[in-house]
């Protein structure tokens, strides 16, 4: 019941946005800007680039509103657009030589394990080092709390693949934490 009402509200919002109603466009941005920016930030590890990509994502969202499936919630659809923008930006970044050291969305965070005592920050640093699809799945599941099925439809992958990626991502994060000495660094047991 609540979900149906929520979907109806989203449909109304999208209709108003498609009619280019400035208030609706503003409402749409403000409703999802934190989610979009957070995902961009986590994927890009650069606040300026993340902000730019978040803006670009919203513009892409506005241009593609006619393709939104009205039976599905807006947030995963918007996040999948943001993830695609980040993926493209990461591919571009990989092709060009690095001009600056790794920046961070969280200015207070120390990058190295030696100087950091904050476990969450260490986990974030370990996640940043994951390969792209593992990082995407990890962030969507743990940060955005999006269920497997939705992540699967967002990334156009079977749920089994998403689960496998997430389990491997967790294993890799634990391994990084051990390497950094954040957690016990004894022998790593074999994983299934």
């Amino acid at each position: 019941m609540e979900e149906a009402r929520h979907l109806r509200n989203e449909r109304l919002l999208v209709q108003a946005c498609r009619a280019n109603d400035p208030m609706a466009l503003k409402d749409m941005i403000e409703r999802f800007q934190q989610d979009v920016y957070r995902v961009c930030c986590r994927l890009m590890s650069d606040p300026h680039e993340a902000e730019d990509l978040a803006q670009e994502s919203f513009i892409r969202v506005f241009r593609s509103l006619h393709t939104w499936d009205q039976e599905r919630p807006l947030k995963p659809w918007i996040l999948s657009i943001a993830i695609n923008r980040c993926r493209t930006a990461l591919a571009k970044r990989a092709r060009r030589p690095s001009l600056s050291p790794l920046l961070d969305c969280n200015p207070g965070r120390e990058v190295t394990a030696e100087r950091s005592t904050d476990l969450q920050q260490e986990i974030n640093a370990a996640v940043d080092e994951l390969r792209t699809e593992y990082r995407e799945v990890f962030i969507l599941f743990h940060t955005e709390e999006i269920p497997y099925e939705t992540i699967g439809s967002m990334m156009r992958k079977p749920v089994g693949t998403i689960k496998t990626w997430l389990h491997r991502a967790r294993l890799a994060v634990v391994q990084r934490l051990r390497e950094r000495g954040v957690v016990y660094s004894g022998s790593i047991p074999p994983h299934d």
Binding site: E30, Q34, R38, C41, Q55, G108, P189, H191, D192
Partner: protein, 221 residues
């Protein structure tokens, strides 16, 4: 005695707990394994990230939505401009193509107009009438000048303009004959007769008449 849990089973159970976004309740076997196995204990670190997952440190500028709307507005203007430019380019291309087509088809239309023959034919008929009249006068004048043996070539005298569709074309050889005949006999006579000869020559050499005659000849051949 129960067999102690191995690391693989512990990982499976830890993953299931993480999937359920919950740190508990852990099974007694898993708890016992974690007490024993320090390597698997490190997995527990992952449970710490969840409470702080939605970190408040990801702060956007206060005017983020304004910036997006401004950028979207610029984007829309740019798209409108691109669309208008595309339409203009298409219209210009069509116009140029139309002009080229018209230019290429224009000679055809002229030829078609030429083939109708009506204006030139009328002009030719009028000229021939005038010349014919002048030649008749010339004949009279020659008679008055005591040259009774001189007569115009038969081709001229037997003209029947009413029966000839292309009078000028048919009469061209006749006019040439008249021209050359007159040239020989007109020398001793006075100026009006010479003028008549010149008009005949001028008619033969007139570019428009020549062109028309050539067209008629081509069509006949």
């Amino acid at each position: 005695m129960t067999k102690p849990m191995n690391c693989q089973t512990a990982h499976t159970q830890l993953n299931e707990l993480l999937d359920s976004r919950s740190a508990g309740p852990m099974t007694a076997d898993l708890q016992a394994h974690l007490v024993e196995c320090q390597a698997c204990q490190s997995w527990q670190a992952l449970f710490h990230m969840q409470p702080t997952a939605k970190s408040p440190t990801f702060e956007l500028p206060a005017d983020f939505s304004k910036q997006v709307l401004a950028r979207y507005s610029r984007e829309q203007r740019r798209m409108r401009w691109i669309r208008a430019s595309s339409l203009f380019a298409i219209a210009a291309s069509l116009f140029v193509a139309g002009m080229v087509w018209l230019t290429l088809t224009q000679p055809h239309q002229s030829a078609s107009a030429g083939r109708s023959k009506i204006p030139v034919e009328e002009k030719g008929r009028k000229l021939l009438d005038e010349i014919s009249q002048e030649l008749d006068e010339f004949q009279v004048r020659v008679s008055q000048l005591h040259a009774p043996n001189f007569s115009l070539p038969r081709t001229i005298t037997e003209w029947d303009l009413q029966d000839v569709n292309d009078p000028l074309a048919v009469s061209m050889p006749a006019l040439r004959t008249v021209g050359s005949s007159l040239q020989g006999v007109l020398e001793p006579f006075e100026t009006p007769a010479r003028n008549t000869m010149n008009r005949v020559k001028a008619l033969i050499d007139e570019p428009e008449v020549k062109k028309w005659v050539d067209n008629v000849k081509r069509k006949v051949m």
